[in-house]
Amino acid sequence: MSVVRPVTFDAAPFLSFMPMSLIFADSGVILSIGSTLAKLRPAEELIGKDVTEVFSVRDNGRGQGNCPVPLDTKLYLKFRTGVTTRLKGMAASIPGTGVNILNLSFGISIVDAVADYRLTAGDFAHTDLAIEMLYLVEAKSAVMEETKQLNARLQGAKVAAEEQAFTDTLTGLKNRRAMDHVLKRMLRTRVPFALMHLDLDYFKSVNDTLGHAAGDTVLQEVARILLDETRSDDLVARVGGDEFILIYNRFTDHTRLLQTAKRIISRLEGPVPYLDTFCKISGSIGITTTDYYRAPTAHGMIHDADLALYSSKYEGRAQATLFDPAVHHDTHIEAAPQATSQDKR
């Protein structure tokens, strides 16, 4: 078998097949490089240097041979200086020549590499799938961006629609649906709270004598007062024409609740200017709290607050009454002079 000296080895066909490859001697010294690799680092920076001086080389611990670069196994490489660019590669010896070839590929760093080194289609081997890959990545990114924007628009529209579905448009307060929802959640999480049922008094006469526009003005003023008398984690809902339910989160002190209710009533009684006159209304309130029940339910609490409200109406309106199981469950209150709050809707 004749020994062929390295100098007589013609690397050109290899390098044109594999423009990202380099030829190195058994000692590890780089002898020649492919045209694309030369775009990553100038030939004069590479030729004559050791492969391991230019790159950090790692394998999975299974390389063959005594060469400084493990042969016949998958390699992970990075440039030691400048832009690191992760590369994949494999090295093999070319029998009888005393030289080896190291072929490299970008792997997942291809997108960055194209930008970093201004690579074009001509820089990849004709058999390389890199260009197809870049097309896919570009197309995917464009579609993804569109999807993302569409998602954001739909999400925004959904939030707005939900907000609208839970809001009373005239007053901006929550509506009955929102109240049901919040009540259900609070009962599930077992937080203590108070439920206040407010029914406006003399509102119908405002509507009848001054018209609906006056009524609307009054309702908006009522909403403002109720929001003012509640905290951000409480709930104020308009559940009927002139009916409101207030839920006080973690607030069950009976004395203070009655004080709050009385203050609300006195503020409701303040005259509301409308055109050249004033609208005067009042309100009746019934209150219950979760501490009356072993297992509170939405239906039961609303019912009991209703009974208490009913007492307030019976006592001559403009009153606040706390639910009292002894009174409201054991005695039957006769029909009040005026229809009940529920009948009025």
């Binding site: 999975n60 299974r62 998958k74 992970y76 997942i108 995917k140 999807t147 993302k148 998602n151 999400q155």
Partner: protein
């Protein structure tokens, strides 16, 4: 956390324990919606809440829940694509383990916003490997134990896996003891769904 991860947790519960279980967990975690959207992003706390509630609902530690989730991801027919891609990573279990080194980059190429854990697999000695896993989601290593256990079955390899707990840096360490590479025949595998991998 990316919607894709939240969605995976939801699908795992739905496919394994039924829609009722998922609905209960969603309600207890107070999500305010019924389904995660894969292409939306959610605050991390939501994911942690869901995991906590799910584990409690199923009466198992969160670690076990995550491990089962990992197994689901590579063994349930509804998510067959994940198994196919992972199988494509290597022709035997050892190659598969090393391919995990590239999982983060590959996943980010597809979904740049997806927070994939940084996985690092090294050969230790005597058929033992060491996987370190750094993730924004604590406990992701347990999911990886489930993934590797199911993939070992898939390849027909006999392995012993052990979660070594957390390092101070937050990394999770798992040791993989490959006792026998071809213990059983394993499952058949075709990358292309069109060619028809078994289902």
């Amino acid at each position: 956390m990316h919607g894709m991860i939240n969605r995976a947790i939801q699908c795992f519960m739905r496919d394994t324990y039924g829609a009722d279980t998922w609905e209960k967990v969603a309600e207890q975690a107070d999500l305010g919606f019924d389904n995660f959207e894969a292409m939306l992003s959610y605050p991390d706390q939501i994911t942690l809440d869901v995991l906590g509630r799910a584990a409690r609902q199923l009466h198992k530690p969160v670690e076990t829940f995550l491990e089962d989730l990992g197994t689901y991801l590579v063994s349930h027919p509804n998510v067959e694509a994940i198994r196919r891609l992972l199988r494509f990573g290597g022709e035997n279990f050892t190659e598969f383990l090393f391919s995990l080194n590239e999982l983060e980059g590959r996943a980010q190429l597809a979904l740049p916003d997806l927070e994939v854990p940084t996985l690092k697999v090294e050969y230790a000695e005597d058929g033992r490997f060491r996987l370190s896993c750094s993730s924004s989601m604590p406990g992701f290593g347990y999911a990886m134990v489930g993934v590797m256990r199911a993939m070992a079955d898939d390849y027909g390899a006999l392995v012993f896996l052990e979660h070594q707990g957390w390092m101070d840096s937050g990394e999770e360490i798992i040791t993989i003891n490959l006792l026998e590479a071809a213990y059983t025949e394993g499952r058949s595998f075709e990358l292309s769904e069109r060619i028809g991998g078994e289902l």
